[in-house]
Symmetry: C2
């Protein structure tokens, strides 16, 4: 187009896309550019503001490395990551929630009933439930990956004082779909706020904190994989999660237990339980692949 | 918010912004997040597509350094840079156009009538016109910065074979507002397409080329500064400018001249003109500051 104007530039962009462009790519780009242009026009965006945006992206690039991706963090604190999770989460199953940057492949096997707490400091939690279909039918052989923070709010791959796979496990459930393990109560933690994402959080008076949670990935042949996290109902940060990961259905109740209470069958660490300890019961509902 | 959903996450983001948030920042962020979320929902964005977008941003960070900013280039090829120019360009004046990444401070002085071509290879062009107000009144003492590519399509700061300030000049016009200089005809060039921007251009069958142009920054006390570029009417890339910089009013006609034609008064290089040479006449209209 020889002469673009405010009114023709969006169409000019679309006209530039050649006939060989993948239809899905073209449609996503069309939507992206319409929104981007509308954003600039609606706000009468100044050059200084445009430069500020580019400066934040450039700083995000500078701080990003193999251990930390500031673009993912921007997506998280703007609610985009959670929205993509919700868009792709089937209504009938357990809601998905953010994967986060701390997942590691290769977690050690943990038998049903096994102990993941080891010598970690903090309150003990018994976590149990069933992996099942929406009608409650157990999914035999489902695999569960679990990872979480230690009492200091750090994951093992953030903390040189933890062993490589501390508080990470991989469990295969039996015919009854039941999972069960002991662990330490996870701790809340703040997302990194020393980069451009922090600049945004500070400028808007936002909290960098996330409520404590246990991460889970549940897979089973023939079912849609579930990436999620579950939160204790008494966490002080439930209402201000910096990355918008909390869903009503992902809140679980930590029931305070004492020595007199029934201990689930098959718990390896049963004899080591000391007051107080907690028990949470949470079922994961998987949906069959289309 | 304890439990965000697809329908509440945008409001949750807005509610997170504290009362101390600068009102303009809050309003721009509100618009940004509304568009970002609507974009994801409209397209039912998949996790794979979300990851692809983050991967492109991460790659842009990797390739960005002090000499090259891939985020600016993304803004350019998506039409955002040009749109911001147009939003901030007063209708009564000469349209602005992209500054680009090749401007350098400290260009050498060039007298009115001076020669910028020196020993550069290529056709000679006489460039002249007036810096004036919308009613045609000359703006005495206006300052003009000029920069352009050499015949090989490279700017001096891209090309170790050119002297530092080759084809760059700084001119102050007299009482009549008239500017005049000789230079070499600029050449088209391709924006860098070996990074993620190139990936986008290739996937959409787009040309990385920009039509040839002369860059200008015009300043005068009491007037809004003008950053612009002017294009020859016969350039083969006028209709496909990769960065959407072409405006109807920024196209100038290169008039082919021959020895018999009148040469403007005061042209330092008048005796060195050889056939063919070109003449372009282009007035810059500045608007008073509000």
């Amino acid at each position: 187009m020889r002469s673009v104007t405010r009114d023709t530039i969006t169409q000019a962009f679309l006209d530039y896309c050649g006939p060989e462009t993948d239809p899905r790519l073209k449609s996503v780009l069309e939507s992206l550019v319409r929104h981007l242009h509308a954003f600039a026009v609606e706000n009468n965006l100044t050059h200084a503001e445009w430069r500020k945006g580019l400066e934040l992206l450039t700083k995000a690039g500078d701080i990003t490395d193999s251990e930390r991706n500031e673009f993912v963090l921007f997506s998280d604190v703007l609610g985009l990551s959670s929205l993509v999770d919700m868009i792709n989460s089937p209504d009938e199953g357990t809601p998905s929630s953010v994967l986060g940057p701390f997942h590691m492949l290769g977690a050690p096997d943990l038998a049903v009933g096994g102990d993941m707490k080891g010598d970690n400091v903090g309150d003990t939690v018994i976590v149990t439930g069933t992996v099942c279909e929406p009608d409650g039918k157990p999914i035999a052989g489902a695999e569960i990956e679990i990872w979480q923070t230690a009492d200091n709010g750090l994951y093992s791959n953030q903390d040189p004082d933890q062993s490589e796979y501390n508080l990470r496990g991989h469990m295969v459930v039996g015919e009854d779909g039941r999972y069960l393990f002991t662990t330490v109560r996870p701790s809340p933690y703040a997302v990194p706020d020393d980069g451009p994402v922090g600049e945004l959080l500070h400028a808007t008076g936002r909290d960098p904190w996330r409520p404590s949670h246990l991460h889970f990935i549940i897979t089973a042949p023939g079912f849609r994989s579930l990436v999620t996290e579950v939160f204790p109902s008494d966490d002080p940060y439930l209402d201000v999660d910096a990355v918008f990961g909390v869903r009503e259905k992902l809140i679980m109740i930590y029931e305070k237990q004492s020595a007199g209470d029934a201990i689930p069958d098959g718990l390896a660490a049963a004899d080591a339980l000391t007051d107080p300890y907690y028990k949470v019961d949470f079922d994961f509902v998987l949906v069959r692949e289309a």
